[in-house]
Amino acid sequence: MSILVDEAVNQSLVSTVKYTSKDFSSDQDVRWCPGCGDYSVLAQVQRILPELNYPKEKIVFISGIGCSSRFPYYMDTYGFHGIHGRATAIASGLKIARPDLMVWVATGDGDGLSIGGNHMIHVLRRNIDLNILLFNNQIYGLTKGQYSPTSEAGKITKSSPVGSVDMPFNPASLALGSGGTFVARSLDRDPKHMQTIIKRAAEHKGTSFVEIYQNCNVFNDGAFFQFTEKETKSDSVVFLEHGKPLVFGKDGDKGIKLDGFSPTVVSLKDGSHSTNDLLIHNEKDSTLAFILANMTYNAEMPRPVGIFLAIDRPRYEDEMEKQIDSAISKRGKGQLDKLLNGGDTWVIQ
C-alpha cells in the first residue's frame, strides 16, 4: 500500500479485542418494517462477525439502494451506502485498492440483479474477494411493491395488475454461470443455517455469493413460507451438505438421485431405493452445482438450499498485486524523475 495508507493503517496496531455481537451494532435506529426478514440477516451477521476474529476497523459493508441497502448504517464498521446497483462496483474498487480489508456487499434482487446485474456478473467472473449477501424477497419493497427480476411469472403487483410476463432469474444459476466460486442459498427463518453459510462465505477466498430468501411482510408476505415454515419445509427443501446424500422429507423419507443428468425424487420408504442410490453432494463439482441450482423452479423437486459450489480460483486483486510486485522487481520501484525523463528526449542548448 502507499506510504500514507500504511501510516494511517499501521499493521502492528490492529485491534485485538474479542468482540461480541453488540460491538457490531451502530448507534442508528434500525428502520426496517417490523417483521421484515432483514432483521434476521442483520442479527446473524452480527452474531458471526465476532467468530471471525477480524479487526473491526478493517471490515467494510457496502450497499446500493433498496431496503437491504440500509444494512451498512446498522453495522458499527466502516460502511458505504452507494447508489442503485453499484455496490459491487464500489466494493470492487475498494478491495482492489485495499486487499487488506474484509469487504461485504449487502444487496437485493432489484439492486443486485436488475439495475446492478452487469456489475454482479463481472465481479463473479473476476473472483474479487467480496462477500455478497443478496436479500431476495422477489419484490421491490422500497418503491412500494412492483415485481422484481426474481418475481414469479404471472405475479400480480401494482405495475403488473394482470400478471407479470417476465421470466424470473434463478440467482444461483446466474452466479454459477458467471463463474462464481462460492454460490449458496439460505433462509431468513433458519438462523442456524444462515450463520453457517455466512461464516463459510466470509472464510471463502474469492467472491462469495449468498442468496437469502427474505420475507417482505408488507409487499410479498409469505413468498417463501413453503420453504421456511414447519408444516411444509421438510418436504419442500433439500439441504445440500458436502459429502452427504441428498435426503429430505419428513423423517428423511425421500431422496434425490441422478437419472442421467436429471435429478429425480425417489422414496426411501417404499423399499425401492436406499441412501446408497442417492446423489452425494460435492461442493467442488461445478457441473453438479448447475444441476442442483436448476432444480430451483422445478415444481417436481424440493428447493435446494445450502452451498452449491465452493471452489478455489485466483483472486483478481491478488493477481494484480503479483503483476505490481513483478514489475517492481524487474524494473525497480518507480522513480518520477526517470519517468518524466523517459521516451525519446532531446536537449536544446
Partner: protein, 612 residues
C-alpha cells in the same frame, strides 16, 4: 547538380494514405527527427473511425499533419503546404486542406483504375488538369521500393509495408533532415529481424537518393532551429501527458493511483499509458462499463487511493449519477473527459468542446463540481496534476476537460523536474477523539479523509443527505439547505487557491478574445498576428472554469468587445454572460475540426469593423 535551397520559417506537411500504409509512423518519425533538430512543432493525427476499412476507400484514409518551424509553433497548421498522398482516396480526402500552389507528392501506383474508382474519381486527377493550381510531383513509390529491395527475396507483403519509408526518405531530403534518428529507431524496433532493419533502412535511403539524384525535385528547403527555452524535451501528446500528470500527483501525495475506466475513443490511450506504470503501484481496473469505472474509483478513494476515471462525452453522461455520489460523500476523485464530437456516439475520432455545460451543470440536484481545462497537449500534464491537487485538498470530484485534438495532438514538452512540482500533502484522520465525518476545515470547508483500517473511526457515508458535522442521515429542511450551501461554498472557495487570470496582449483595448481548452494555440496565433498588424486585441484563456479566477470580471470590463470562439454552439459564452453580464460575441463552429487561425482573425476583423 547542386540544387537550390530555400529557407522557410515554418512548414506544414500532411502525410496521408490508407490506414494500413503506416502514415502515423511516418509522421511520427518526421516529428521526432524535426524535434531533435531543434524545430518547434505541433502535430495532429487524423484517424478514420474504422479500424481496417476496405483498402483504397475514402473512409479508410489515415492522415498525420505536422507543423514545424524556426519560430514558435502553436497549432498543427491551418492548411498544409505539402501533401504526401499514397493513393487516390487520400488525395481526395485531404486536398481541401492544401494551400493553393502547395506541393502534392503522389504515389502513382495508388492511382490505378481500381483506386480511382474506389476514391470516386471518374478520371485521374493526375491527368485531367484539376490539380493545375498545385505543384504536382508524381513518383511511382511502389515500383521504386520493389526495385530497391529486389535482391533481398522478401515476401511482397513485407516489401509493400516499407514503401512509407520511401516517402519519408524523400521528405527528409527535401527538408535537409538527417536519417540517423530514424535509422536508430529502425534498429531498436526491428533489431530481432535483421532483414527488416535492412529493408526499411534501405528503402528510406532509396527515397532520399531518388530525390537527390533525379530531376524531379529542383528545390530543397531549410527550416532552422527555433529559439526554444534550453533544456531537455520530449514530444508528448495530451493523453500521455494526462497519464503522467496523474502518476506524478500520486507520487507527490504519497498515494497509490487507482484508475477505474472503460475503453472509449479518444480517451483509451490514458488507460494504455497508465497500464504500463505498474512499478509505480498504479492499479488500472478496466471495468465492465463506464459506471463501474467511476464507482470503482469512488470505492478506491474511500480506501485512500488517488482515484481517477477517464472517459469521453457519452461516457461522462453515463457517469453522471456517480459524480453526484462523489459530491455527496465528499471524496477526492479526478474525472478526465477527452471530449469528442457529440451528441450520442457522434464523431468518435473528431474533436469538439461541447461538454462544458454538461461538466458544470449536468447532474441532478445542486451538485457543484470544479471544472478545469487543459489548453495544449503538454498542459494536460499540468492540469491532471492540478485536478489531483484540488480533489485531494478539497475532498471533491474534479472534472478535467481535454479533447481529441489535445489528446492525440503532440508538441515538444520541456520536461519538468520532480523538485519543481507543487507539493500535495493530503492527510488521513487518525485520531478517534471527537471524530465527526462531516466536520469541516475552516478555510477550505473540506471534510476529513478517514479510511477503513483506522481504529476508532468506523463511520458510514452514502448518497442520502447528511446531517451537518455528524454525517448521519438527515431529512430536515434547514439541514438540507445548509448542506447544499456548504457544498457550493466549498467549491467556490477554490477560487482562493488558483492563479489569477492573465491576458496576453494589452491590458485594456478594443477586443478581448476569450477561449478555453484546445483552442489555445489557434487563438494565440490569431491574436499575435492581429497585434503585429497594430490592432488592439488581447487573449484570455481560461484554464479554471468552475470556479473562475477572481479577476475575470475585472478583465472583461476593460475591453470594448469580448469575443468567445468555441467548438460548440456557445457554452462558455453563456456562463460569461450570466456571471458578468457582458454582451459577449460568439464564434462557433462544430465541424469536428479545430478552428483555423484565419477564421478567428477574420472574426476579429469583422468585430473591429463594427460587424457583430
Amino acid at each position: 547538380m547542386e540544387k537550390e535551397t530555400r529557407v522557410l520559417d515554418e512548414v506544414t506537411i500532411r502525410f496521408a494514405g490508407d490506414s494500413g500504409d503506416g502514415m502515423q509512423l511516418t509522421g511520427g518519425q518526421f516529428t521526432n527527427t524535426s524535434a531533435a533538430m531543434g524545430n518547434d512543432l505541433s502535430t495532429l493525427p487524423d484517424y478514420p473511425a474504422e479500424i481496417r476499412a476496405p483498402i483504397g476507400t475514402t473512409y479508410g484514409v489515415s492522415g498525420f499533419q505536422i507543423h514545424f518551424g524556426a519560430t514558435e509553433i502553436n497549432t498543427p497548421g491551418d492548411h498544409c503546404d505539402i501533401l504526401v498522398a499514397m493513393n487516390a482516396a487520400s488525395l481526395k480526402v485531404n486536398l481541401r486542406s492544401l494551400q493553393e500552389n502547395g506541393i502534392i507528392i503522389v504515389n502513382t501506383d495508388g492511382f490505378g483504375d481500381k483506386n480511382l474508382k474506389l476514391a470516386g474519381y471518374s478520371q485521374s486527377p493526375l491527368a485531367d488538369g484539376s490539380l493545375s493550381k498545385y505543384q504536382l510531383f508524381q513518383v511511382d513509390i511502389t515500383k521504386l521500393t520493389n526495385l530497391a529491395l529486389a535482391d533481398l527475396n522478401l515476401p511482397q507483403k513485407t516489401i509493400d509495408k516499407t514503401k512509407n519509408f520511401f516517402a519519408l526518405g524523400m521528405m527528409y531530403w527535401m527538408f535537409n533532415r538527417t536519417l540517423d534518428n530514424t535509422n536508430q529507431w529502425i534498429i531498436e524496433k526491428f533489431g530481432k529481424k535483421p532483414e527488416l532493419v535492412e529493408a526499411n533502412s534501405r528503402v528510406m535511403k532509396a527515397g532520399w537518393n531518388y530525390a537527390e539524384t533525379t530531376d524531379v525535385f529542383a528545390v530543397k528547403y531549410e527550416v532552422k532551429p527555433a529559439p526554444l527555452t534550453p533544456g531537455k524535451y520530449r514530444n508528448i501528446n495530451g493523453n500521455q501527458a494526462a497519464a503522467l500528470g496523474l502518476v506524478a500527483a500520486a507520487h507527490q501525495a504519497n498515494l497509490d493511483l487507482f484508475l477505474g475506466t472503460y475503453p472509449i475513443t479518444p480517451a483509451s490511450d490514458i488507460l494504455h499509458e497508465l497500464a504500463t506504470f505498474k512499478n509505480f503501484r498504479v492499479k488500472t481496473f478496466q471495468c465492465e462499463d463506464e459506471i463501474a469505472g467511476i464507482t470503482s474509483a469512488i470505492g478506491a478513494s474511500f480506501g485512500g487511493a488517488l482515484a481517477a476515471t477517464t472517459t469521453s462525452g457519452p461516457g461522462l453522461a453515463l457517469k453522471t449519477e456517480a459524480m453526484g455520489l462523489a459530491v455527496m460523500v465528499e471524496l477526492p476523485l479526478v474525472i478526465i473527459n477527452v471530449q469528442r464530437g457529440g451528441p450520442s456516439t457522434g464523431l468518435p475520432t473528431k474533436t469538439e468542446q461541447a461538454d462544458l455545460l454538461q461538466a458544470i451543470y449536468g447532474r441532478n440536484g445542486e451538485s457543484p463540481i470544479p471544472v478545469i481545462a487543459a489548453s495544449t497537449p503538454s498542459d494536460c500534464f499540468t492540469m491532471a496534476f492540478e485536478a489531483s491537487r484540488i480533489a485531494l485538498k478539497y475532498m471533491t470530484p474534479v472534472i478535467l476537460l481535454t479533447d481529441g485534438y489535445l489528446g492525440n495532438g503532440s508538441e515538444p514538452w520541456l520536461l519538468p523536474q520532480e523538485k519543481d512540482l507543487p507539493s500535495i500533502a493530503p492527510k488521513f484522520r487518525t485520531d478517534p477523539e471527537n471524530y465527526m465525518p462531516y466536520q469541516r476545515d475552516d478555510i477550505t470547508l473540506s471534510r476529513e479523509w478517514a479510511i477503513p483500517g483506522t481504529i476508532g473511526l468506523e463511520h458510514r457515508i452514502g448518497g442520502l443527505e447528511k446531517q451537518d458535522k455528524t454525517g448521519n442521515i438527515n431529512y430536515e429542511p434547514e439541514n438540507h439547505d445548509l448542506m447544499v450551501k456548504l457544498r457550493a461554498a466549498k467549491v467556490e472557495r477554490i477560487a482562493n487557491d488558483i492563479p489569477l487570470a492573465k491576458v496576453d496582449g494589452p491590458e485594456s483595448g478594443d477586443i478581448l478574445v476569450v477561449g478555453w481548452g484546445g483552442t489555445y494555440g489557434t487563438i494565440k496565433t490569431a491574436v499575435e498576428r492581429k497585434l503585429k498588424e497594430g490592432k488592439s486585441v488581447a487573449h484570455l484563456h481560461l484554464k479554471y472554469i468552475n470556479p473562475m479566477p477572481k479577476n475575470v470580471g475585472e478583465i472583461l470590463s476593460k475591453y470594448k468587445y469580448v469575443l468567445v470562439p468555441e467548438i460548440n454552439l456557445g457554452q462558455l459564452i453563456k456562463i460569461l454572460r450570466e456571471k458578468f453580464l457582458v454582451p459577449a460575441i460568439g464564434l462557433n463552429k462544430v465541424q469536428g475540426l479545430p478552428f483555423r487561425s484565419v477564421e478567428i482573425e477574420e472574426k476579429i476583423d469583422s468585430v473591429l469593423g463594427g460587424k457583430l
